[in-house]
């Protein structure tokens, strides 16, 4: 299998999408009764589960408490069965602690933490199946879970990865496309205000192309927003019909 053709002459990607098309996104909110908020999301074959507890009192050492806002505590993990090879993934390895940090930064920017001084919000995310765009799936899942928990946010946080192959930006990379090793950009966007919550890039990309890729990424994030919004509205409607007889 010498050199997969990531983008064919006809403009199709390996899985039949075109360059600007997202994978199919399916999501559900409120999957756990025990947690304050929870959500499950599928982006193509990438599947993520997010649970939110809080806001509640600071657990553990009180010294971590902040007097003016809430502490956002994140934890990212991958299930042993999430990848092609079965592998035990202990907590706190380099990759997952980096991911944890990124999630924390993203949500500290989005959640209105100043409303809950001296308290803590826990966000636990787990990847059940990894097929590219793990970070993005986690952010999207966590957004839904936070909404489910009823914690106020500035806006939805929508994330989408974008690659750049043969002078074309490809949105929402799958695992094969990620593994090809081209430049990759992960963007977490607050879609209404078009504010960037987090931007991360791997590998090298010429600065002339950056704008093009960024445009494609924010467009994709808005597409994600449309889907998430639909999911939230459906969920709310459903809950309403259940509650409000």
């Amino acid at each position: 299998m010498a050199g997969l053709e990531l983008l064919s002459d006809q403009g199709y990607r390996l899985d039949g999408r075109k360059a600007v098309e997202l994978r199919k996104i399916q999501a559900r909110m409120g999957v756990f009764a025990q947690a304050d908020g929870s959500a499950y999301i599928e982006q193509g074959n990438t599947k993520a589960l997010a649970v939110v507890y809080g806001p509640h009192e600071i657990r553990g050492s009180r010294s971590k408490a902040l007097h003016d806002r809430a502490v956002v505590n994140c934890q990212y993990s991958m299930a042993t069965f999430s990848t092609g090879e079965r592998k035990r993934r202990p907590h706190g390895d380099r990759k997952s602690s980096e991911m944890t940090l990124h999630l924390k930064q993203t949500f500290e920017a989005a959640i209105l933490t100043q409303l809950y001084p001296r308290s803590q919000i826990d966000i636990y995310v787990q990847i059940l199946q990894a097929d590219g765009g793990n970070y993005c799936a986690c952010v999207n899942a966590a957004t839904l879970a936070i909404m489910d928990a009823g914690i106020p946010m500035r806006d939805y946080v929508c994330a989408c990865s974008t690659g750049f192959i043969e002078d074309t930006p490809l949105v929402d990379l799958c695992y094969v496309e990620e593994a090809a090793g081209g430049p990759q950009l992960a963007l977490a966007l607050l879609p209404k205000s078009e504010q960037i919550a987090l931007l991360e890039m791997n590998s090298r990309l010429h600065e002339d192309h950056l704008e093009k890729v960024l445009d494609a990424a924010s467009k994709a994030c808005r597409d994600v927003y449309a889907v998430l919004d639909r999911v939230v509205r459906d969920h709310v409607q459903e809950v309403c019909t259940l509650l409000g007889e």
């Binding site: 299998m1 010498a2 050199g3 053709e5 064919s8 002459d9 006809q10 199709y12 390996l14 899985d15 039949g16 999408r17 098309e21 997202l22 994978r23 199919k24 996104i25 193509g44 074959n45 092609g84 090879e85 097929d131 799958c174 094969v176 597409d223 449309a226 889907v227």
Partner: protein
Amino acid sequence: MYKTEKLLHLRTYKRRPVRIVRELYLREDVPCSSSLCQAACANEGKVLSGDLTHYLVPDWRVVQDYLEILEFPEMRGVIFMQTACQAVQHQRGRRQYNRLRALLRDARRECISFANEFQHYSYLPREKGESMEKWQTRCIYNASVWYYRHCHGQMPVVMLTEDEEAIKAYGSETGGVFVISFRDYLESFWPDLKAAHELYESILQSQRERESESQENHGKEYPEHLPLEVLEAGIKSGRYIQGVLNVNKHRAQSEAFVRLQGTSNKKTDLQSDILIHSSRARNRAVHGDVVAVELLPRAEWKGRTCALSDNEMEEKAGEPHAEPMPTGRVVGVIQKNWRDYVATFPAKEETQSQGKNALKILVTPWDYRIPKIRISTQQAETLQDWRVVVRIDSWDSTSLYPNGHFVRVLGRIGDLEAEIATILVENSISVAPFSEAQMREMPVDTPKEPWQVTPEEQLVRTDLRDTHLVFSIDPKGCEDVDDTLSVRTLANGNLELGVHIADVTHFVAANSYTDIEARARATTYYLADRRYDMLPSILSADLCSLLGGADRYAVSVMWELDRETYEIKKVWYGRTIICSAYKLFYEAAQQLLDGDLTVVDEIPELQALDSEMGQARLEELLWAVGKLTEIARHMRAKRDICGALELEGVEVRVQLDERKNIADLIPKQPLEVHETVAECMILANHWVATKIYESFPHQALLRLHPPPCQEFFSELRECAEAKGFIISTRSNKALADSLDKANDPADPLVNKLLRSMATQAMSNAQYFSSGSCPEEEFYHYGLALDKYTHFTSPIRRYADIMVHRLLMAAILKDKKTEVRETLFGNKDLEELCAHINARNRAAQHSQKQSTELFQCMYFRDKNPESDERCVTDAIIYSLRTNGALLFLPRYGIKGAAYLRNKEGAVITCLPDGHCEWRPGSLQRFQNRIVSSTSNGSSSSFTLFDHVTVRISVQFSRCHADRIHLEIIRNQPYQAPTAELWEQSSSLLKTDLVKEVTRSAEEAQLAQEEAAVKGVREELQEYCQSQGQSLYQLLEEVRNLALLDVSAG
């Protein structure tokens, strides 16, 4: 815009134990690219027109195998299904896929690709247990049907497949979609397209061959090597044979030989080498590797090719082969002898065809015997015209070529320094300047602090400064004088002969840095224009050089000879202090010997004295030289009686000629003085060998010359018979006698050639450790001595240093004193000998290669058509089926000339002697070749015929340039004018450098260029080109710079 409503399909497939799931998104809006489309597909770019008789859908198999036929312009309306394209990409690799892509992009060609796997209705999921191939065929068929329906049945679709079952299953399933085989299609639709039919047949043919091959090895290029334990066991049991692989330089693709190694082989009936035919049988072994070979059954034995060829020529089927010889195949490599290889990148035009981002590049090694090496680099373009060093990393059984990597750049192709560096690397010679640590070990000798004999040394050494008349005879201008002679009459009337050799071991302590470096180098390397010393120049040119009038340490061997019979009565070995009185050169010594006293003016040591004193000294010297010659003659005669030989004389002479070529040092005619000095040295070597063997029977370093294999003499015998001589090769004495007799008075070259052939037939002399060889085998065949070693040139040979240490230890042992130095044990010494032998070979090769390089450079700028120097006399000394080997006495070049060229024309002679290429045939007889042309005339070339040849240089990008010879007359060369004839006849010897220099001067005078003085002679060779070469310009600039400095 938002499209998640696509159906999500999962496609699973197993690769290794891992299960990978991939998504597949299907859509309805895949453009069909047909002008007949009525569904408003968004067609862009190429569109199939509607005026065709049918659309053609090739199966994945057909696209893979018969793409070349589909490329015909007659093939219109071809739809390449995505499934088929992917099959090509995955199974045929990038090259064929790129071809397919180029075809699809070509706007002139009416062919499109259709993404059937992304089309909602043409896609079929793979069923459980269905083979990939079946599924692909089914997919393509389904897509064809969809396509037919999509166009509303306006256009019949023909699907081509090689799968018989598919033809049966789908053939009549849908009307309007025809499924037929490619052969049927060609026959029914294109009966007149002959080219396509032919191509189809040839592709089919090659496919069958591949299949039959891959059945044996399951798609691998080479069979796997056997594990080492199996090999060892096999070698012990005699099933496999161990040997060193030797690739035929002239037929590197197909022929290699395995020279049997050591005594580990039980099959004694195998005398000759084993032929390894074709690179598959060679099984990834590289030249020089130690391999294990399995013999093939006798029915599959092949003969070696005896036609001349160079590597560019394709092997022809009908080429004549000699008698079948043992043939085998390599089953394993026991020891890899990969070294650094000099290689060249392919020219730009060739790389481009490999694709723009092809990072893997095949480089061509300089040595023909090494296969091309695949390296990955991004500098291919910048390194186009450079010689680079590469190393082989691995060679998998699945790969046709070895993988390697790029190491460093040597220099531009064609540049002198780069080519010299190439020769050095190819011979694994490393000649970094001596390090500081090494130089610190050296004694000091500056005008301020002159080196002096220390009192301690004076106590332990015998002082010969006042008692002996010591003198040296060396080539003119020689710097490293390592041997001196003395002769005197003792009080009892007997004679005392002394050989005094520079005491290098006094300065080079065992295992010091200098010693380790010298051991690594093992010898001084003489190239055509330069020299790489084994020892730092402070030793080689100063303190260890026994210059005239300077006190020097020496190791001496002195014999007491009977005054009448010159019988050796006593021998003495020891360390001495000497002061050489005269530093004579050969010509002067010879003139003194002949009684010609005019030469006295040239001896500086005699100038300073007043006439009376001078006269006395001169008398003394004359007597010594005369006596010495007399003794030498006597020794020589004694050796001759014992079965001694003229052979070594030939060898020495050849070597001297080589040196002559290089440094312009040696007279044209061999003088008797040469033999005198050589005889004394042989005597010293012999006695030292005897001494160290007596003292250390198990660890003495000796030199042996094994008796030659009788088979190798067959060519010599045949040649001699052609001239009517009979060469007897029973013993060394018989050989020497018959060689002496084989002298053609009309042509002195004949004898010379026969002698050099005899030398070639003999094996090389070698160093060895006396403990590893039975005493009977110590015999030196060439010199007819039972023991021999090298003792007399410690400055330029490491073996001599070892022998000096052994001799010193032997003297100490005699005195019953403790042996201070730790000597090498037998095993270590044997290893050291192997190393020195290898280095000596490398030195010889590099010398030969650099001489060839200079020859090519000499002829490079000459126009072979017009320059008279390119036309010269040659003598045929060996015949092949399609050519002859020639010797050019004027330049000392040996080379091959074709009598039949690549077009099949043969050389034929016109009545006036000129030769022409004419169509015809060649016939080879025992000692002549007859070329007969189609019109009936014939001409023959007999051994030892003189012919006229034209010399030209064959350029080669990746390899060394080569001298190309073409016979232009079948008569001896006649110079156009008397003057020129004189000139060329005066050049009897192979003194190329001399000739080059002379002609360079002439050319310069003719051009009235300002003669540049103070330029080294060697450099002038490069100034003589008549055309304006860049090198010349640079060289002139450099000369100017030199002038400025010297003027200032």
